[in-house]
Amino acid sequence: MSTTTPANEALAFADSAPLFAGVPDPVWRHRALVVGGGLLLAIVLMALLAPFLTPHDPYAQDLLHRTVPPFWSEKGSWLHPLGTDPLGRDYLSRVLYGARISLLIGISVALISGLIGTTMGMLAGYVGGKTDMVVTFVVTTRLSMPVILVALATVATIGGSLWVVIIVLGLLKWDRFAVVMRSATQQVRALDYVAAAQAAGASMPRVLLGEVLPNVMPHLIVVATLEAASAILLEAALSFLGLGVQPPLPSWGLMISEAKAYMFFSFWLIAIPGTALALLIFSINLAGDGLHDLLAPEGRAGT
């Protein structure tokens, strides 16, 4: 009766394959969580405290101080630690405020797509039968269209803005939530405490929210971190192509795009937001991996 396809399963498993499976050393596992979580916390704090960390307005142009190099360069100064962009805007301010955009994208998209995908996946896994077939069909259809292409086309049609990007990505990226929640729910459904709740006469929403959801939560959290990271990368790619967040917002992808023309002489204009983006994704992925191993010690690959 299972209508899932190996390709779907492989996709669901691919990025969540336990990174530290077979690593018995608990210190290493926790180290991933501590390093990733710590770095992420630092980035979140820097984003929140941006106005206190830098005296400059990220939108204020200063045409007399254009493309000032960062402090490690001979011509750099501590007035603008990361230099200024070709419009004379302080680069440190733009990078710090840019973190807000990336974090907002990651969290909002994970929430929207998580709500859609979890609902679909839990219903499919719990009810089974026709519902399961319909959900599998919808998921397979969604997977057959490249997210980046559909997102680009949609944003080009309705016009780019931060909220358009969030909603478009949120409506597109629920597939992994649905696939993972479906199989997790199927595993939990057969367990005694679910049967007990059913026997006690609990309604379906009550069983799903009260019994099933808490027990599939570890999977949900891991998928949410992966999807948040992936949404941040997608926003950066869309903005890089000019069809995402619009200027003058300091989106990291947009900053890289704006710096492309200066790449020969001022490569740091690309390297700084690029590194910031990589560090953020790195910290989220590492924290997600650490959580995965912490929350699901039985890990699929065994030891």
Binding site: S2, T3, T5, P6, A7, E9, A10, L11, F13, A14, D15, A17, P18, L19, F20, A21, G22, V23, P24, D25, W28, F137, T140, T141, L143, S144, M145, P146, I148, L149, V150, L152, A153, A156, T157, L233, A236, A237, F240, L241, L243, I256, K260, M263, F264, F267, I270, G274, L277, A278, L279, I281, F282, N285, L286, D289, R300, A301, G302, T303
Partner: protein, 305 residues
């Protein structure tokens, strides 16, 4: 097995139909096609005439059926921006993108499977840690940023590779690496997890007890079973790579389907955009269909059920 294939084929056809509906609606949501065809400053009378000539005044369902029928016969319409037939335009770009997609996949498999096997054999050693660290860092690097780093290193500093274009095989080196490295970590994790699982299985112990050389045990007995999920993932990832080619081809100005997709999107060339979405979806559907049937063939649990 036969029943499974029929069921799977049915799903593939339904998915293709659903995608065609979405691609069709994409065009319609973008605005009144009659106004777009008439061009700027057209009179209301002309727009009305075009609407009747092309049948835009008919119910949407009828229009969809007519469009689908034409599409199936290969009549894909005219490009608004390039002023040519959509069909020949797209099929002239397809080989470049398929070449890029397959070479990126090959590149990813060539680095990830050996690393995954190595990490599994030397589980918990510094080699394993190094492989894992590489995977985590690789997955954190945005592909467009990595592409720019490659250009900086190989085109500007070392001057060994061309920045953009699609004339020679040298033009494909950086796009292949920039597109392929991103899917490698997933393959590596899967290979590593699969190898660790398989290496602990009884038949591997038997093979070792028989006194077979370790290389033979690993490559002939273990790897064969460990890579089954990698095969399934390859099909999915190839679909992902074709989507990712939009970004990579645009950066390197590689004259393929991805670059055409980007151009058609920026120039609002909806007929081209529509067919590209449809074509990539059909390719993905066929790939997953092939991979699922191959998997069923390899895995008797699916074959029999």
């Amino acid at each position: 097995m036969f029943a499974y294939i029929v069921k799977r084929l049915g799903l593939a056809v339904l998915v293709a139909l659903a995608v065609s509906m979405i691609a069709f609606l994409l065009l319609r949501l973008s605005g009144d096609p009659a106004v777009a065809l008439a061009g700027e400053g057209a009179r209301q009378v002309d727009i009305e005439l075009i609407r009747q000539t092309y049948g835009f005044d008919r119910p949407l369902v009828v229009q969809y059926a007519a469009w689908l029928w034409q599409t199936l016969q290969g009549e894909l319409g005219q490009s608004v921006y390039f002023k040519t037939e959509v069909g020949p335009l797209i099929f002239s770009k397809l080989p470049t993108t398929l070449l890029l997609g397959f070479s990126a996949l090959l590149f990813a498999l060539l680095i990830s499977i050996p690393l995954g096997v190595l990490a599994a054999i030397y589980k918990n050693s510094w080699i394993d840690r190094l492989c894992l660290a590489t995977a985590v860092i690789g997955q954190a690097l945005p592909n467009f940023f990595f592409a720019l780093l490659l250009i900086m290193l190989f085109s500007i500093w070392l001057r060994v590779l061309p920045v953009s274009g699609s004339g020679t095989w040298l033009h494909f080196v950086m796009p292949t690496v920039a597109l392929g490295y991103y899917v490698a970590p997933a393959f590596m994790r899967l290979t590593r997890a699969g190898m660790i699982e398989v290496l602990g299985a009884d038949y591997i112990r038997t093979a070792r007890a028989k006194g077979l050389p370790p290389s033979r045990v690993i490559f002939k007995h273990a790897l064969r079973n460990a890579v089954v999920p990698v095969v399934a993932l390859s099909a999915v990832q190839l679909g992902f790579l074709l989507g990712g080619s939009v970004v990579i081809e645009t950066i390197f100005a590689l004259d393929g389907l991805g670059y055409l997709a980007y151009q058609s999107i920026t120039f609002k060339d909806y007929p081209v955009m529509q067919v590209i979405v449809l074509l990539l979806a059909v390719i993905y559907v066929l790939l997953t269909l092939a991979s699922d049937i191959a998997n069923a063939w390899l895995d008797p649990r699916i074959r029999v059920a």
